[in-house]
Symmetry: C2
Subunit: 159 residues, 2 copies
C-alpha cells in the first residue's frame, strides 16, 4: 500500500492561497455583517471589538506574504482604518496584493526556517498557516459578538 | 526566479497531521479550562455550550480520517460523553487513533474527490482541512465563553 509520508504532497502553494482567500472572503462578509458602531465598539467578556481583530489580520497578511517571499520583514505601514468603508477598502487592496505576490514566493521559502518580523521562528509555511489559523480563531469570536447582537453570522462553510 | 506553482510542495501529510494534533492539544486544554457545569451549560448569544462543540469535533475527527483512508464513511458510533472526564477520555482515545490511522492514508486519497459521509464533496485534503478549520473556529467561540466567565483561556500560540 502506498502511504503518505514526508514525500506525500498533501497541499500545494496554489491550494494554500485559495484556502486563505476563501477564509478572507468569509472574514470580509463578517466585517460587513456588523453595524458600523458595533464593529468599532462592541465585544464580549472584555475582549477587543471586531475592527481591532480585523486590523490584526491586516497587519499580518501582506507583510507575511512579503516576508516569506523576500526574507525582508516589515511592519504594515498604512493608516489604521477608522470606519467600515476604510476597513473594507484596505481589506480589498490586500486581497489583490496577496493574489499578486503569493505566486512569487520562491518554492524553497515554504520550507525554509526564518524569523518572522525578527521574532517568530518557523518555516514560511508555518508562518502563513499561523496567520490563517489566527484569522479563523478570532473570526469565530466575531461570530459570538454577532450572535450576542442578535445578528445571524455568514455561513462558515461558504468561502 | 523559481516560483511556487501547482507543483510546489507546501505541506506534506506529516505536516498536516502534526498541525492538526497541535490544534487538538490546544482544544483539550480549552475543554479542561471550563468548570465542569459550565462546560455543559454555559454559552453566549444562544449558541451551543462548549461540550456540544467538542462533541461535534469528535464526530468529525476519526470518522474523517477513516473515510479519507478507506473511502468508507461511517458516523461516529460511541456514546455521547456526559461529563468532563468522559469527554477527555474520548478525546485522548481519538488522539491515539488519529496518530495510528493518519499515516495509513494512501497518498492519492489526499487529492482524490470523494463525498464525505455521502454528502460533502471535496478532496480528502479539503475534508481534513474543513475539520481542522471548524475546530479552530468553534474553539475561538469557547475562548469568548471562558472570557465571559472571567477565565483566562490557554495561549493560542502554544500547540
Amino acid at each position: 500500500m502506498t502511504t503518505a509520508t514526508a514525500q506525500g504532497n498533501a497541499l500545494t502553494a496554489e491550494d494554500v492561497l485559495k484556502h486563505w482567500q476563501g477564509h478572507r472572503a468569509l472574514t470580509r462578509r463578517t466585517i460587513q455583517a456588523f453595524p458600523e458602531d458595533k464593529l468599532f465598539s462592541f465585544s464580549v467578556g472584555g475582549m477587543r471589538p471586531f475592527s481591532q481583530l480585523a486590523w490584526e489580520f491586516i497587519k499580518m497578511a501582506v507583510p507575511i506574504v512579503e516576508g516569506v517571499a523576500s526574507g525582508h520583514w516589515e511592519e504594515y505601514a498604512g493608516p489604521k482604518p477608522t470606519n467600515k468603508a476604510e476597513l473594507l477598502a484596505v481589506w480589498d487592496r490586500q486581497t489583490r496584493e496577496i493574489n499578486e505576490r503569493f505566486p512569487a514566493i520562491p518554492a524553497h521559502r515554504f520550507a525554509e526556517i526564518d524569523k518572522a518580523f525578527g521574532q517568530w521562528e518557523g518555516s514560511g509555511m508555518q508562518t502563513i498557516q499561523y496567520a490563517v489559523d489566527n484569522e479563523i480563531h478570532h473570526r469565530g469570536q466575531g461570530y459570538v459578538y454577532l450572535r450576542a447582537l442578535g445578528i445571524e453570522p455568514p455561513h462558515f462553510w461558504e468561502r
